[in-house]
C-alpha cells in the first residue's frame, strides 16, 4: 500500500511535516510448508506469523525538523489521505507502531530526507494492525 502526500501525519501526537509518501510492506515472519508422501509438490502452506512494516519518507526543511523519534519509541501513527484535493472521501489511516529505524539522506537533488521505519502492532495479535476509515 502506498499513500502519497498524506496530511496531518503524527506519531504519538508528534506532528511530522512534509511527509511525501507512506508505504506499508507486508511480509511473512514464519512460513509453514509441508510436503506429503504423494508427490513432489507442496501440499500445505500457511503464514501463521507476519508483519506489517510502515515506512514514512519526508523532507527536512531545517535542522530542527528531524525531531526526536528513535528506535524503540512507540505510539499511534495517524494520517489523512484523499483521492483528490477536493476534500471528498477523506480517509484516516491509523496504526500502533514501534519505531525500528530512523535514517537520513542528504543529496543535491532531493535535499535532506528522513526515513522512519516502523513495525505495526496489533493488540492481541489477531486483528490487522492497520485501520483505514472514511471520515
Amino acid at each position: 500500500m502506498i499513500w502519497l502526500q498524506p496530511r496531518r501525519v503524527t506519531i504519538g501526537g508528534q506532528e511530522l511535516s512534509h511527509v511525501g509518501v507512506v508505504t506499508v510492506d507486508r511480509s511473512a515472519d514464519r512460513v509453514v510448508v509441508e510436503h506429503s508422501d504423494l508427490g513432489p509438490h507442496v501440499a500445505f502452506a500457511d503464514v501463521p506469523e507476519q508483519r506489517a512494516t510502515i515506512v514514512l519518507s519526508r523532507t527536512l526543511v531545517n535542522e530542527g525538523a528531524a525531531g526526536s523519534l528513535r528506535p524503540g519509541d512507540a505510539g499511534t501513527l495517524s494520517f489523512r489521505t484523499a483521492p483528490s484535493a477536493s476534500g471528498a472521501q477523506v480517509r484516516e489511516v491509523t496504526a500502533d507502531v514501534v519505531i525500528t529505524g530512523v535514517k537520513h539522506e542528504v543529496s543535491a537533488k532531493k535535499g535532506a530526507m528522513q526515513t522512519l521505519e516502523c513495525v505495526a502492532i496489533s493488540v492481541g495479535g489477531a486483528s490487522d494492525p492497520i485501520s483505514e476509515t472514511v471520515i
Binding site: V32, E34, D37, F44, D46
Partner: protein, 122 residues
Amino acid sequence: MSSTFAGVSLFDSGPHRFAVRAVGRYLTFPFEGGGGGGTIEIFGERGLVIEQTGRLVAPSDAALWVLIDAVRSRAEGPTLGTLVDHHGRVWPSMSMVELRTEDRIDRGRVVSIGYRVLYVGV
C-alpha cells in the same frame, strides 16, 4: 488413498509422511560405550520403529484439539493395530507409542500444528 491406523484415519486433515527407522541389529564399535575390546559386538535385533511426521489442520482451535486428543488417546492407550500408508503399504501389529507436537500452534489462514508420531512393532 488415505493412511489409517487400526482402521481409523486420524491424520487426513493435513499432509503427513512415513519413514522406517533403522533396522537390523544393535552393535557397538571398539572403545565405544565403555567397551574395551577390539571387535565389533553385536547384540539383539532392533524392533521395527516407524516415524510419521506431518501437520494436523483444522478451522479452529477447538477443532484442532479434537484432532490432537484423538491421536493422544491412541498414543496413551494400548491400541494395537495395522498401520497403512498412503500407498497401501501395510505394517501389521503396530502400537502407537508417542505423539510429539511442535512448540506452537500455528494460527494463519487455518489453525494447525506439526507433529511426530512413533509406532513400534509388537
